[in-house]
């Protein structure tokens, strides 16, 4: 068990209940160059610091949400529900 993550609906739960889906990326809008595409598919900021990332409360309510976490300390700064289409 590692750090505790607060699900927007269920509250604080051990991180093992959640699925992690990586840092928030920007999908190219239309027919990107190969370079733009591979940058989106493979390359990551991988910051040591505050990172916006996707989580799903897989073992609980099932919601996908966004968290802002400091990757140096695993401190969760905030969680929020996604605003689709943005």
């Amino acid at each position: 068990m590692s750090f505790v993550l607060a699900c927007p609906h269920c509250g604080p739960r051990p991180v093992d209940e959640f699925a992690y889906s990586g840092e928030v990326t920007r999908r190219p809008q239309s027919s990107p160059t190969l370079r733009e595409l591979t940058d989106y598919v493979y390359f990551r900021d991988n910051v040591a610091g505050r990172q916006r990332e996707w989580w799903q409360h897989r073992q609980g309510c099932g919601e996908w949400f966004l968290a802002e976490r400091d990757t140096r300390t695993n401190e969760i700064i905030s969680v929020s529900l996604p605003k689709p289409g943005t």
């Binding site: 068990m1 590692s2 591979t38 390359f43 990757t71």
Partner: protein, 404 residues
């Protein structure tokens, strides 16, 4: 041998930074030190330094589970690691330091027929490349490792295994120290507690390395900083396809010899070996989320203890003594990223996931050649960073999960 009676310094004590080095290697782990050593030995490089932010071997080199093997899935990977094992076999003698390379055989267990197929594929690729590797059934496993629970009692009974006789364990710290000593004796300056804080560039080349102890002009730069390679890359403006994760391991209290071979189970996400000191060394898979915080997790201890006992129920009253974590740089295809980048004289060794230690000597040989000649050796050409721009990956994923 005579150093037993007449102790001699392994390396010079930390000196002042010189104003300029031809080659600046960032990272004083097995990769950086090996590169420095081969640069000096094979290419006569006279002006090489290592910058290490902590003590040498403080990162992944000193935190791995010391397993060495070459039974990879891709022909590119198997050929590369095959050469690494061959180098390791000669290394104690070459460096006159006993690395205690214990080639006691490596068994990757299959608990499903799907896993057996993947092993079959690895075995076939390996055989074609001259690497000893074969799929064995329960009877042969029992002969190789009578201690293993091969009954139907476990939730995931053992169906077969990939047997790799040259695989084994090596004393990881000794590899670091032996390379450091050899590099030092050939004139490489090792600067521990020296952290890189920036790079100055002109005309697409790094010209100056800035550190917490001052600046260095440089000819070429090699970054071999597992765990932190994204951050060092960022300083040079080189974006990498890397995420950073923790990997954990633990040892038990020492026991008399019990387990000779190295046992790995991808299904159970656990690998078990017994060190020459008698400790059982047990590791698992990386944590799924990215982090730079090197604290371990209780669930890792619980899960890997449970899974180890599925394989070796005899260990139930054996006591866990010490745990640790290390940072891993994960690449999208589970193959390393090695060689040139878009900054002309900035080279990387990264993306090793959990496999970096196994490759130290061959990384040293090939990166030294690249730095010295400017040409990418054929053995590492498939692992160029560029493959992620051209989308031609070298996927070890099918063989991955846990394959230590």
């Amino acid at each position: 041998m005579k150093e037993i009676f007449f102790p001699k310094r392994m390396w010079r004590s930390r000196g002042e930074l010189k104003r300029r080095y031809d080659v600046v290697i960032v990272g004083g782990g097995s990769h950086g030190l090996a590169t420095a050593y081969y640069l000096a030995k094979e290419h006569g490089a006279k002006s090489v330094c290592i910058l290490e932010k902590s003590y040498i071997g403080s990162g992944a080199s000193g935190r791995n589970t010391t397993i060495v093997r070459s039974n990879y899935r891709t022909p590119e990977g198997a050929a590369f690691y095959g050469e690494s094992v061959r180098l390791y076999e000669r290394l104690s003698k070459e460096l006159d330091f006993n690395l205690m390379f214990s080639q006691r055989g490596h068994l990757t267990l299959a608990h499903s027929d799907r896993a057996l197929v993947v092993m079959q594929e690895r075995a076939e690729v390996n055989k074609l490349l001259g690497i000893k590797s074969s799929v064995v059934g329960p009877r042969e496993i029992a002969a190789l490792c009578p201690e293993l629970d091969l009954s139907d009692r476990p939730t995931w009974p053992v169906l077969g295994a990939l047997f790799h006789p040259p695989g084994g364990i090596i004393r990881h710290d000794a590899v670091v120290w032996a390379f450091a000593r050899a590099a030092d004796r050939r004139g490489v300056d090792i600067h521990p507690y020296t952290e890189v804080t920036g790079f100055q560039q002109s005309n697409g080349r790094v010209t100056v390395v800035e550190t917490n102890r001052g600046r260095i002009e440089c000819g070429q730069v090699v970054s071999a900083t597992a765990g932190w390679s994204t951050l060092v890359g960022d300083l040079a403006g080189v974006r990498l396809p890397i995420t950073t994760h923790i990997l954990q391991a633990f040892v038990t209290e020492p026991l008399k010899p019990f387990l000779d071979v190295v046992i790995v189970s991808s299904q159970l996400h656990v690998y078990v070996s017994q060190t020459d000191r008698g400790e059982f060394l047990i590791g698992a898979e990386i944590e799924p989320y990215t982090t730079y915080k090197g604290t371990g997790t209780l669930s890792f201890l619980e899960t890997s203890a449970r899974h180890s006992l599925e394989l070796f129920p005899q260990l139930e009253r054996t006591k866990l003594l010490r745990t640790w974590t290390g940072l891993c740089d994960l690449s999208p295809d589970y193959s390393p990223i090695l060689g040139k980048t878009e900054v002309d004289n900035f080279h990387v060794s990264t993306g090793w996931g959990t496999y970096g230690f196994k490759a130290a000597p061959i990384v040293g040989v090939t990166l030294a050649e690249l730095v010295a000649t400017g040409k990418t050796p054929e053995l590492i050409a498939p692992f160029a960073l560029e493959r992620f721009h051209t989308d031609t990956l070298v996927s070890e994923l099918a063989a991955a999960a846990v394959s230590h």
